[in-house]
């Protein structure tokens, strides 16, 4: 299965073809996470297919971020299993890290590099053929072309958010995991994000987002997992 998964580098990559056995891209079963005596999530079952988007919704404190952290491997679940492309997810494996593009927290950038340089370095790291040109194109797509030569510290919080999302779309991926990506984005930014996520689905990538934005959920999500005290899907 690993050999048949195409990992792409371009900002507009070719479509990903799912493996012939048509198994889910991401499979989560019986996932639980406790902080001491406090259960945050209990017995979550979730599947994300190739070219499918799943939105995780729920009130504050329902465990959306914790679920996403367990999915990308930055947190270890108390019980349950996470499989990516049919194999148990191990965060330390380069192949796993190559396939998942995630923005969960505030993403940091190199303080002394302009945002164009930062993106170009990222693209060069992932083997892009023309990183400088692709970085400019990506910035233009996210309406950041005018800020290309600015240092990250001078960006507004909304611009930082766009740049963080761009780092996700600039790198190889088959699964995009975003935690409340609509935060701090203006109306145009939310429209751009929605169209980008729809495009991700068209490319065959899986999308898993935690969100409070019903409009984004309606536009992008094929299924909704609502977290509350009683978990239901």
């Amino acid at each position: 299965m690993r050999g048949r998964t195409r990992v792409v580098t371009d900002s507009r990559p070719p479509a990903v073809h799912p493996p012939p056995d048509d198994g889910p891209l991401l499979s989560v079963s019986g996932l639980s996470r406790e902080f001491g005596q406090v259960p945050v999530i209990e017995g979550i079952d979730l599947q994300v297919g190739w070219g499918e988007a799943v939105a995780v919704t729920g009130p504050n404190g329902s465990g959306k971020t914790t679920l996403l952290r367990c999915v990308v491997g930055t947190d270890r679940p108390s019980a349950g299993a996470v499989e990516l492309c049919g194999r148990p997810l191990r965060e330390h494996e380069p192949d796993t890290r190559r396939r998942i593009a995630a923005v969960l927290d505030d993403v940091e950038f190199f303080a002394d590099l302009s945002i164009a340089e930062h993106l170009a370095l990222l693209l060069a790291a992932h083997g892009a053929a023309a990183p400088d040109e692709q970085a400019r194109a990506l910035l233009a797509e996210a309406s950041l072309a005018d800020a290309a030569d600015q240092l990250p510290a001078t960006l507004s919080s909304g611009q930082r958010r766009r740049l963080a999302l761009l780092t996700c779309f600039a790198r190889p991926r088959v699964l995009v995991v975003l935690d409340e990506p609509e935060q701090r984005l203006d109306r145009a930014g939310r429209a751009w994000l929605a169209s980008r996520l729809v495009q991700e689905k068209e490319l065959g990538h899986g999308v898993l987002i935690a969100t409070h934005d019903s409009e984004l959920t309606k536009t992008v999500a094929d299924r909704v997992l609502e977290l509350s005290r009683k978990v239901s899907c």
Partner: protein, 472 residues
């Protein structure tokens, strides 16, 4: 609802004196603790301070004797040029630091609740002003003692000159907070003092004009006394001017330094100097704003080199700092003994190399940044480590000709130890606040804090002890 006696001051009425407010603040903070607890705390602090002072004095005396002993370098010789150059460098550094930090700041609570009211600002800021003067004088005295000893100069006039100069500098910096003209003048003075000091150290390092400068600085006692009197008058005049200017300091100026104080406080409490350096880097980046982006090219290795070069080109401060520290080290060579020189080379190298490792530090501290580059973040970390090693090697290469003749072992320790200490410090993972605390005489401390000490600074201390023993 306002009751009698609580009506706000009418528009146009004179400023409200701040002294009663300050007294009230003090009283309210005192009443939060029972008197017995308060006294017990004071006793604990005095006891701890006395113990530390006694231990420090006891530990430092043999080290000082050891450092002053005969080394393999040239024997100590009286050097007025060294004394003057070092004092000028200290004053220049003080001005630079105070202008960056902002000598007087105000917490957000004071800013929001008190400084926004028509309260006389001087009354509120006076305690901070006095603390600043006291701190400047104490630090200057502590620095002046070893300088006078190293230069074989009379201790008392040196200490008096250092204290008077430090008070002048500190109070003039406060004055500069209220007046842009004074601030600009201070900037020029700092540059001039720094330049003269560097010329002095250059003369000491190369020997060019050293004898002439030393004899020119041999002033008769009357001139020295007049110079000291002038310095004291300048200190009093600046203190008076700054005190009067306290009323004119804007709240924007007082709040500017608050972020730095907060970052500094966090850095000290978590023993992580990078918390402060990250804040400074961000402030510097904001001041720079826009840059001319470099083309990085398609090859990863080439892109990494070009990115590092772009970073160095934009922020040459660490390189300039390294050159100055190197010059100062060579300037100290004719005056200081072998062990002291070796320690200075190690500590100087640590301070010089650390700011050049920002990429490696950011990668080590930020999982988000690593995940962007995953799985190629290891290549990036490797390249950043190479920068760190290269910087350490360059520093070692610049001082080794001065060390090699009298100790090859020290030279080896300097190279390998410096790389190890810097690498361990830079790659410390971020502080985990959820780690279990350990009970200590100072109260519960998170276990993670020990790791912050062990990884890097402790290694540096062990290396210093080793170098002291070998360089003897």
């Amino acid at each position: 609802m306002l009751t009698a006696g609580t009506e706000p001051a009418a528009i146009g009425s004179p400023a409200i004196p701040g002294r009663p407010l300050r007294r009230r603040l003090r009283a309210s903070s005192r009443t939060q603790l029972p008197a017995r607890t308060w006294l017990a705390r004071i006793y604990e602090w005095i006891f701890a301070a006395a113990m530390l002072a006694a231990l420090g004095a006891g530990a430092l005396r043999p080290v000082w004797r050891y450092l002053s002993g005969p080394g393999s370098a040239a024997p100590p010789s009286p050097s007025r040029l060294f004394l003057a150059a070092t004092l000028l460098l200290v004053f220049s550094g003080m001005i630079w630091t105070l202008r960056t930090v902002g000598p007087i700041g105000a917490s957000s609570a004071i800013r929001f609740w008190l400084l926004s009211a028509p309260v006389r600002r001087r009354d509120l800021l006076r305690p901070r002003f006095l603390v600043l003067i006291f701190a400047a004088a104490s630090v200057a005295a502590l620095i002046a003692i070893p300088i006078a000893h190293a230069a074989s100069a009379a201790a008392l006039p040196t200490i008096v000159a250092a204290i008077a100069g430090a008070i002048t500098v500190a109070t003039a910096s406060v004055w500069g907070q209220a007046s842009e003209a004074v601030d600009r003048a201070l900037h020029g003075i700092a540059q001039a003092l720094g330049a003269v000091s560097i010329v002095g150290f250059g003369s000491l390092a190369t020997g060019f004009g050293r004898v002439a400068a030393n004899s020119a600085l041999r002033a008769p006692p009357g001139v020295v006394a007049a110079l000291l009197a002038a310095l004291l008058i300048a200190a009093v005049a600046c203190a008076w001017g700054a005190y009067r200017a306290l009323d004119r300091i804007d709240v924007s100026v007082l709040s500017r330094s608050q972020g730095l104080w907060t970052a500094g406080h966090a850095a000290v409490s978590s023993l992580d100097v990078f918390m402060l350096s990250e804040f400074v880097t961000e402030q510097r980046a904001r001041a720079t704003g826009r840059v001319r982006s470099a083309l990085l090219g398609p090859r990863y290795a080439g892109a990494l080199i070009r990115a590092e070069w772009a970073r160095i080109r934009r922020q040459p401060g660490p390189i300039i700092g390294a050159a100055v520290v190197g010059l100062v080290w060579w300037g100290c060579r004719p005056v200081l003994s072998g062990p002291a020189l070796a320690c200075l080379a190690l500590v100087g190298g640590y301070c010089v190399v650390l700011p050049m490792t920002s990429t490696l530090r950011q990668l080590a501290a930020s999982p988000g940044l690593r995940s962007q580059f995953a799985p190629h973040d290891r290549g990036l970390a490797g390249a950043s480590t190479a920068v760190c090693v290269l910087a350490a090697l360059l520093w070692a290469a610049s001082v080794l000709p001065g060390i090699m003749p009298w100790s090859t072992t020290v030279a080896v320790i300097l190279v390998l130890g410096l790389i190890a200490a810097v690498y361990r410090t830079v790659t410390r993972p971020p502080l985990d606040y959820s780690a279990p605390p350990v009970m200590t005489p100072l109260g519960p401390l998170p276990l993670e804090l020990w790791r912050q000490v062990v990884r890097g600074p402790l290694l540096l201390m062990m290396l210093l002890i080793l170098v002291l023993i070998i360089a003897r």
